[in-house]
């Protein structure tokens, strides 16, 4: 842990796996094995195993209620779960600062008296430690993180004065300041415009440069085919397929994941995909 705390976001190139000597292969940052979990003893996700390499961008796709959010919550430890998750060779329970989690944040009070700077500094709480004020190192980390996501100039804004896309970037910056090596994003593209979406993809490219792996739950299948290194297909809490889009975008896998909600044509080198737009009523119904 001591070694970890000395690393700074500014020296992100030092984000190697030297410490994770227990790791099977040197480029794996996260290994999930037989993960099951859900509310009240239920199994909203069931026996999921996969590995994520350093700096990889993994999209989690599946119909509403497939367990995309639940999977992310189980990984970050917000849900009771079985199975093992190890990050850089250490079990997840010990490596609390190594996983950054950006939920959908409907529950946040945007009138809360905090600025962008304050929110990002919250990610440093464990590094700062109890009873102590932030040090120079922490301020540098916050500054670096804000600059990486292009929010430095807005650091003194109250958090409610930002647009939806900007708010998400701030929470990504918080995970950066946290020095997470894996970042989990739950539906970061829902309810924002095309420009904000492009901005977030730019931030994702920055994360790739910093060798931070990203797991991202998304609805947008067309985008999923082109913008991610690997895809994880989920349906009813079970993993249908995991791998690079070109390998797993097969009619069989898509049918197993989405049922008859999706159709796929294979035309030469191009895929043509037709999907039902997810409707909000189904979402609400399945949430119940």
């Amino acid at each position: 842990m001591f070694d970890l705390s000395l690393r700074s976001v500014l020296k992100s190139s030092g984000r190697s796996l030297k410490n994770g000597s227990e790791c099977v292969r040197p480029d794996q940052v996260m290994i999930v094995q037989h993960l099951s979990g859900g509310y009240g003893g239920g199994r909203a996700v069931d026996d999921i195993s996969f590995e994520v390499c350093v700096g990889e961008r993994v999209g989690i796709i599946g119909p509403n209620g497939a367990g995309k959010s639940t999977l992310l919550k189980a990984i970050v430890g917000l849900l009771p779960h079985h199975g093992s998750i190890s990050i850089q060779g250490a079990p997840c329970r010990q490596s609390h600062t190594m996983v950054g989690y950006v939920p959908q944040y409907e529950a946040i009070d945007w009138n809360f008296p905090v600025t962008v700077w304050d929110v990002v500094m919250m990610g440093r709480a464990r590094q700062i430690g109890y009873l102590l004020p932030p040090r120079k190192r922490d301020r540098q980390a916050v500054r670096g993180a804000l600059q990486r996501v292009g929010m430095w100039s807005l650091r003194n804004r109250q958090i409610g004065e930002l647009s939806g896309g900007q708010r998400r970037r701030v929470f990504v910056a918080r995970a950066l300041a946290q020095e997470a090596s894996v970042l989990l994003l739950d539906e970061p593209f829902s309810g924002i415009d095309a420009q904000a979406e492009a901005d977030i993809f730019q931030v994702l490219d920055v994360l790739r440069e910093d060798q931070i792996a990203v797991l991202l739950a998304t609805h947008n299948l067309a985008q999923a085919a082109t913008h991610y290194d690997k895809l994880l297909m989920l349906n009813q809490g079970r993993m249908i397929a995991y791998g690079p889009p070109a390998e797993i975008y097969t009619p069989e896998n898509l049918a197993a994941t989405f049922g008859d909600r999706i159709m796929l044509w294979h035309e030469g080198k191009q895929y043509v995909m037709v999907a039902d737009e997810p409707c909000h009523e189904c979402e609400e119904r399945e949430a119940l």
Binding site: Y101, A107, P113, V114, T115, V119, M122, G123, Y130, L131
Partner: protein
């Protein structure tokens, strides 16, 4: 304009000439000076703690907790035959018990927090009144506890108030960032593996202590005003937590001082005078903010009409 200036000047002259009578005379009595000190400490402590009450939406909890310290107070009142010495400790024990009781009940999935608060609050208050109703001088004693009796602050009371007030402020300072995180984003607190539940209970206990500290100043029934009103005014004026605490403490202390003098000169009960002063300050801030907002909108529209601005920049309302 010159008229206003003259009035202000004359007002100042009158104030300065009577400064002695208006402001210093009350403080010549040790009892009144003590009460004033107590009121200022109370204003600061409840102003700071009230910040959390406002940003976390715990006004109902604060009100309930203030009422639920009644049995402890009544018990000590009965035992000491009307002296105020033990009230502080009785209230403290009852307040911490109620805070933890509410925290415990909400662990059950089917009992929401406001339901738990309602149950504990009403039961506790009823128990307190039942106990007081057995005392002979029922009405007088009850009103002292309900509405405060600041002139009953003894030397020992003041020492306790100062000690516990300082303690509360120290804990708030030490765990400032943890309290901020659990209030703003409990999910982050859990992903960072902070002991969220522990900090939540600690905050409830701190609020309980702040309430007991304020008991003699404003009493049980008006306590919530000291927690909520200065902090609400400060929320309108600031955009960060630390400045909000500072401004809230300042408004709390100002309300105590002004309310105290109003109470002395106009012969009004001190508790209500302090609360009404705080309310007046809140209203001034609120109206000022509204006026500022409408002026800003008027300027925007005027610039649009003159073609200085192509289109109004939409202010996003989240």
């Amino acid at each position: 304009m010159t008229d206003l200036w003259t009035v202000l000047q004359w007002g100042w002259v009158v104030l300065a000439h009577n400064f002695d009578i208006l402001f210093l005379e009350p403080l010549r009595y040790p009892l009144l000076a003590r009460s004033m000190e107590a009121a200022i400490i109370v204003g600061i402590v409840s102003g700071v703690l009230g910040t959390y009450v406002v940003v976390r939406g715990m006004a109902f909890f604060g009100d309930a907790l203030a009422h639920s310290i009644l049995p402890g107070v009544a018990f000590m009142y009965q035992r000491s035959h009307g002296s105020t010495d033990g009230l502080f400790w009785g209230g403290l024990v009852a307040g911490i018990f109620s805070a933890l009781g509410i925290g415990f009940l909400t662990r059950h999935e089917k009992i929401k927090e406001d339901t738990a608060i309602g149950i504990v609050f009403a039961a506790s208050f009823a128990l307190g009144i039942a106990m007081i109703s057995r005392i002979d001088n029922y009405a007088g004693d009850l009103s002292h506890i309900l509405f405060g009796q600041i002139l009953g602050v003894s030397e020992g009371d003041l020492r306790l108030i100062a000690l516990f007030g300082a303690g509360v402020l120290l804990v708030v300072t030490l765990f400032y960032k943890e309290f901020m995180i659990i209030s703003f984003d409990p999910v982050l607190a859990r992903t960072l593996r902070l002991p969220t539940e522990l900090f939540r209970l600690l905050l409830l206990v701190l609020i309980a202590i702040a309430i007991v500290v304020s008991l003699q100043t404003v009493g049980v029934a008006l306590m919530v005003a000291l927690l909520v009103t200065p902090a609400a005014a400060a929320h309108l004026l600031t955009k960060r937590l630390m400045p909000m605490m500072g401004v809230s403490a300042l408004i709390g202390a100002m309300s105590s001082v002004i309310g105290f003098y109003v109470s002395y000169h106009q012969d009004i009960a001190t508790g209500p005078a302090i609360v009404l002063t705080a309310t007046a300050i809140f209203l001034v801030v609120f109206v000022e903010q509204q006026i500022q907002r409408s002026i800003r909108q008027m300027i925007l529209r005027w610039q649009e009409l003159r073609g200085l601005r192509t289109a109004a920049v939409p202010v996003e309302q989240p």
